[in-house]
Amino acid sequence: METIKDIINTLTAPEILITLATILLFVSAKYRHVFYTNTVALVLFPAMFVFMAISMFDEDFYLIVTKPDNVPIVGMLFLIPFFTWFSMREAVRNDRRTDSGTPLIEKEETADKVLTWPDLVYTELIAIVLLTVLLVGWSILIPAPLEESANPAATPNPSKAPWYFLGLQEMLVYFDPWLAGVVFPGLIIVGLMAIPYIDTNPKGNGYYTFKERSWEIMTFLFGFLILWVLLVILGTFLRGPNWNFFGPYEYWDTHKLEALVNVDLSDYFWVRLLGMGRPDNILIRESVGFLVVLGYFLIPPMVLARTIFKRFYENLGPARYHIMVFLLLCMASLPIKMVLRWLFNLKYIIGIPEFFFNI
């Protein structure tokens, strides 16, 4: 038992967990005909339940899972995989139907158009009522956790954002506040709003499919499941006192020591590579970082337009293409910075704390 716990504790370290989840996401999409089937679900979801139930016997696991704050995320652990599995299963079935020329599932269910009123509105009304009942029942059964009155001199340890913001809080570990707290959330919202204007491809409207939109679906799933949901889960269950990482079966020891010493790119370049001191002039000191960041945003769009994104470039036109690639690069910068942190302890690519400008 202890060895299994130790193995799980090790596997849930952020770098391993995020890598494994990404691999799982892409491998399961590749072998979706095998993975997104009823058989797998009938094994997988009960297994998750059993796993949770057995884990409850562990004191530390029990403590975090039953914390009133964390109840919604426990629900999310099951709901999000379920709905991902469900829509992928429908997509796989539909793709098979398109291949064999039989009509799509949606077509078979209702041959003609469904009306907003009354069909949709009634369904929504029922959903609203049920959800309200659920929320009322929940708030009566599990009272909101109130803490002692606020004291600026005593920050609770660990100090966590509301659960839906824990993904952002996790980003703050890798990026400076102005980026992780202002620019990225803004870009996420603006970028999501821009999707319908960038992506005008009518395929997949009103029916499930994977094959026809595989690139778009995988990009979305990666952004949503890995870069948002997984970070929320990580922040909820695996971040403990002093924002250190703790495995699910690990005691939240305030004195846990973790080496988090980080190095700037300018240090790597001037001190370690060239063997000299860092130049005094800020602009010279950070010139490498500026080049890297500029190159990151300028070179890939041009290269991609001639290679793998050639079709996008032709279909979308230059303006929409560049907006799309820019948003994509911003999204990719998060996993890239994470990997750089895990592998090289890289803190800042451009680091000018003198002017609050750190990237």
Partner: protein
């Protein structure tokens, strides 16, 4: 106005010229004036709301006891709650560290076993000197002006702060030789 611009239509017999227009304008101006006034009042009330009725802010300058009370290498937390200041005596001197994390402003904890300040919010760590060495904090903790009063007590002035990344820790006042 009406004297300069002749009325657009001829006055009906018995009706004073321009009566309808004039009363209309006076009603309009009354409406606008009262609208503006109510908006101004609402704006003022909102602005007033931004300033709390009572402010529990300790004075920026405070006395922090005699320097002999501090022990070498020990972080003094007596003024953490009341003034958000740590006093540290090290080797040849004393300095006053701000208890505000330079990342997003949480209050770190002093962990004496590990000899570091550790922030509970995103895990920034600072040496006893205030220098940041781990986690996301971009710069060291700030220091406040420290001096010795005539009666031999320490005086901390939070109005003047010294930032290491700007080279200000070398300036007089950032450090008290003792």
């Amino acid at each position: 106005m009406s004297k300069v611009n002749p009325p657009l239509r001829a006055a009906k017999p018995g009706e004073p010229a321009d009566a309808g227009r004039r009363s209309f304008f006076s009603w309009m101006s009354l409406a606008w004036v009262s609208f503006t006034a109510s908006m101004l009042a609402a704006g003022t009330a909102t602005a007033r709301f931004m300033f709390p009725n009572v402010l529990f802010e300790p004075p920026l300058t405070f006395r922090a006891g005699r320097p002999e009370e501090l022990q070498v290498g020990i972080v003094d937390e007596r003024f953490k709650d009341s003034n958000q200041v740590w006093l540290v005596r090290e080797g040849g001197g004393i300095y006053a560290l701000s208890t505000t994390c330079t990342h997003l402003g949480c209050t770190p904890n002093w962990l004496s076993a590990e000899q570091k300040f550790k922030c509970p919010c995103h895990g920034s760590g600072f040496y006893i000197t205030g220098i940041n060495f781990e986690g996301p904090a971009p710069r060291p903790l700030e220091r406040f002006a420290i001096s010795l009063a005539d009666d031999g007590q320490l005086v901390i002035d939070k109005g003047r702060k010294f930032q290491q990344e700007k080279g200000q820790w070398e300036l007089p006042g950032a450090y008290l030789e003792f």
